[in-house]
Amino acid sequence: MKRSYLVLLMLLLVLPLSARTLFMDQAGLLDEADSDVVQQSLMSLSNREGMDVVVVTTNSYGGKDSRSYADDFFDYNGYGRGVDRDGILLVHNPVAREYYFSTSGHAIEAFNDDAIDYLEEGITPFLRSGDYKGAYLKFASLAENVMEIYYSGEAFRREEGPGGFFFPAWLLVSLVLGCVSGWFYVSTLKRRHRNVSSRSDADDYLKKNSMDIVRDEEIFLYRTVSRVYRPRNNNGTSSTHVSSSGRTHGGGGGRY
């Protein structure tokens, strides 16, 4: 297979940090200045978080599908930090209008299915509008959020995705809750205006100790047994698969 375009990268386990290319613009989508910005952003992020965060653009998968291409690109170019080769790689194909995230090592766990959805939702609007630089930078910033949560010992959950204080939405929610509470309060006041209630029982008139039980039996009729599958208790799931090099990868992707 032709791999002449591949750049040889050094695998560094500890500091000092490498100056490897983490942004491989094979499709030539960005100009030099923008490429530099993305490269710098990915590099500083990777160094900060201790996982390689890579973006690759290509116009062709060379006969593979997006997943194998992403996995192989990651494996054969020696990306990933530490013994487990921790890292995440985004392949973007502007011709097929596809993207794929490949995760490796600890990134498989960090970027669980919820996190991959979170990344997808973050970058697809940029990809659709053709703002590729924006998409890659968004990818970097969202990936950082996910890794922060991972390092805090939590599993990433969809609803935990950091969101700002969205003014009109909260105003509406407050109004609805406020009106419901107001209505409830006034109903409570109104209820105090009437305390008439009929008695359907005669419990007050039972003669003390007059109860005498002469029969108290249970007749067994039948017994049924059923079983249900017990789901494993998991903190967020990460779907995984094995790449051509025999290593395990996680991730996911789609079209835009």
Partner: protein
Amino acid sequence: MELEDNVFQCPSCGGDVEYSPEQGNLKCPYCDTEFDIDALKAAEEILKRENRDEFKWEDSSFPCYDEEEGVYSYRCSSCGGEVVLSGSEISTFCPYCGENLICSGNISGALKPDFIIPFKITKEEAKKALVDYYKDKPLLPDDFSNRNHIDEIRGIYVPFWLFDAECEEKLCCRAHRTTSWPQGDYIYTTTSYYLVRREGSVTLERVPVDGSETMPDELMESIEPFDFSEAVDYKTAYLAGFYASKYDVEASSSEERANERIKKTTEDLFLFPLRARYQGLSVASSFLEMKNGRRRYVLYPVWLLNTRYGGRTYTFAMNGQTGRFVGEVPVDEKKEKKRLVLSSALFSSLFFLFFFLISLIG
């Protein structure tokens, strides 16, 4: 259940199950349900038995008023309410609507109560309770509470029929109990189905039913119970200074209400311990047989104030023995709307502030 010789229907899935004598209990090959065919047959027999609740009330003879006792009946020309007063006062006001009452004659020959509970709560105490009742009601119309009508509160002896009964209950329920346990990759659940029978007897004493048509049953039931231990033999002298509502609901007409209440209490009493024993419980049959049902006629003390407002009558009623009271007062719509708007605005602001602070922390 039995389709043909030795073939039975599974009670759970309805599949045909063949019976082999050496097995003992049957096991359905389709759903693994185990069942005891003899018990199922016995249960079917029990459920087939038809019974009806039986309430038998003794026909007791009651003493009647004679002319010398000087008890007169008065009728209201406006609302039609009828009251009984001792002595023929020339004019008096209807305790229900405040209009003039017209004497309709001596009530000699009418039933005389067996017992009476004299008033224990004074008029002043009743008035104070009413004033307090108005206090914590911000939606009360000002012109309703400002009206100087509290003095019109009246003490009325209300006729009640009291029912005593010894009840025999036969309760039959379908019930099930469930246990679950994890094993390997599965959670297993076993549900055992039973027919539960509980039978026995219980005595109820002095279940009251209001015997006055003019007094709403709901209102009188709301101020229950009265403590019968303080009841004394009836004497006309107790009526002095008070009204007495004339009984106009025959004992036999009140029976139905008494029966309903007795049935409910008896059934609940027998059912109650079963609720803790089983996860699922439904009454399959419940039969009550009553013995020695006895009725008595008594007068119970009630403070009453009816107020007309906005075309409706609002009633305040108080148990003249225990002080327990019920009432209904009107709602001022303008005040209600104002409160609703203001409180909604306040709550909305608080929620908004809360969310805002949360977002700052998060």
